[in-house]
Each structure stands twice: as C-alpha cells, then as structure tokens.
C-alpha cells in the first residue's frame, strides 16, 4: 500500500483532490506543511475529506498543525503523528508518493 503525502493548501493547489482521487481503499494520506489545512473542520473541503476517511487512513503532522495555530480545529478521526510517527508510517507502507 502507498503512503501519500500532501504538502500544499487545498485552497491554492488541486493536489489534495488529485491525491484523493488516486488513493486506493486501504492506503494512507498524510497531511504535512500547508497540506494540513485540508484536515480542518468547517472549511470548503471538510466534507470531501471526511468522506474519504471511509476507506482511506488519514494522518496529519501535529507540529505543522501547531505551527499554524489550528490544532483544535481538526476533523474527528484524522490521526495526529509526530516526526517519529511520520518515519513509522513510511516504513509501514511499501511506497511513498509525495504529491507536490
């Protein structure tokens, strides 16, 4: 299975949507850097991200959430990881696809 990483804001690039459209059931998506804005409640993208969670594992890098002051706005069910958790995810998956 693939670990997809998304590092761009969904408001600025279509990376999130392209990634979700190509992530197979059982794969994982990790939001990092400005990609973390996809993991927040009450945005234009929240519903789409929530429904993606039905068959994709969603993760977010907590230090990037905190840096941007949005740690309390996370969509329920998205799992927070630290840098060590990021490394674990890369080793647990066969491949990493970094969507830029």
């Amino acid at each position: 299975m693939i670990l997809h990483t998304v590092n761009k804001s969904p408001f600025e690039k279509n990376t999130l949507i392209s990634c979700l459209n190509h992530a197979k059931a059982g794969s994982s998506v990790l939001f990092i850097e400005d990609g973390i804005y996809a993991a927040l409640q009450n945005t234009r993208f929240s519903d789409q991200v929530s429904s993606a969670m039905k068959d994709i594992n969603l993760y977010v890098l907590e230090p990037d959430l905190k840096a941007r002051g949005v740690q309390d706005n996370l969509i329920d069910g998205i799992k927070k990881v630290d840098y060590a958790g990021f490394v674990d995810l890369t080793t647990e998956h066969d491949t990493v696809d970094a969507w830029l």
């Binding site: 590092n7 761009k8 804001s9 408001f11 600025e12 850097e33 400005d34 804005y37 927040l40 409640q41 009450n42 945005t43 234009r44 929240s46 907590e62 230090p63 990037d64 905190k66 840096a67 941007r68 002051g69 949005v70 740690q71 309390d72 706005n73 630290d82 840098y83």
Partner: protein, 132 residues
C-alpha cells in the same frame, strides 16, 4: 540646503497610499514573512499603509501559532506590533474567512472584515500595490 529636509524626525516628503495584499499561508512559503519585512520598511517612511489579507493569507493572522516543534521562527507576534509603527489599517476578506470556517475571534489582531466589492474599491484608491 539638505538641513531643512532632515531637521525633523518626521518624514516630510510625499506620502503615498501603499497596499500590501497577502494571499499566502504562513511558513509553507516565505511570502508572508517577506511581506511583513517590506511593510515595516514602508512604515519607517511614514507612508499611508493598508494591509489586506485574503485567500490563504487570512491564516497568517490565526491565533495560537506555536512553531516550537518545527524549529522555525513564529513571526505572528509581529502583527500585534504593527500598531506601534502606525500600521493600523488591516482588512480581511469575508469570503476567505467564510470558506475556511474562521471568524474575527480566531485572529490575533483587530481587523476590519470586508466584502470583495469593498476591497476592490479600496484597491482602486491606492498609489502602490504590493502583492505577496
């Protein structure tokens, strides 16, 4: 002759209307920090400064930024210091706030929340516009 020009701490040259349009989220790119630096330079020359925050730029003003774990500089307290440089016209796009589920209470500084139409009028009044 130049004595007359510099006999006073206050800049007495031409004052222009400068607008800084901020459309990028902080940290992911350098634009937000660079904009802030240029704003402070303009303020040192006593210009008539307006700051606009729209699109992902509204995230620059989000309360509670804590960059400790990322080991990058948290420059958000600087927005609170702008008042001391007489930079007091901060305008935020209502549409951009709405699509991100943000309200005025989420922001670290007092701002005027503005419609796109009013923002467009304000842009029309400027002498210089810097876009970041």
């Amino acid at each position: 002759m130049s004595e007359e020009m510099y006999d006073d701490d206050e800049y007495d040259g031409v004052i222009k209307k400068f607008m800084y349009v901020n459309r990028k989220a902080p940290y992911g790119t350098i634009y937000a920090l660079e904009s802030l630096e240029v704003v402070l330079i303009g303020a040192a020359f006593d210009q008539d400064i307006s700051l606009v925050f729209m699109d992902d730029g509204v995230y620059q003003l989000k309360k509670g930024q804590d960059t400790k774990e990322t080991e990058i500089k948290n420059f958000s307290p600087t927005y609170r210091a702008l008042e001391m440089y007489d930079v007091e016209k901060l305008y935020v796009s209502k549409d951009s706030m709405d699509e991100r589920g943000l309200s005025e209470d989420d922001l670290i500084v007092p701002v005027e929340v503005m419609s796109s139409e009013k923002m467009a009028d304000l842009m029309e009044e400027q002498d210089v516009i810097f876009s970041f």
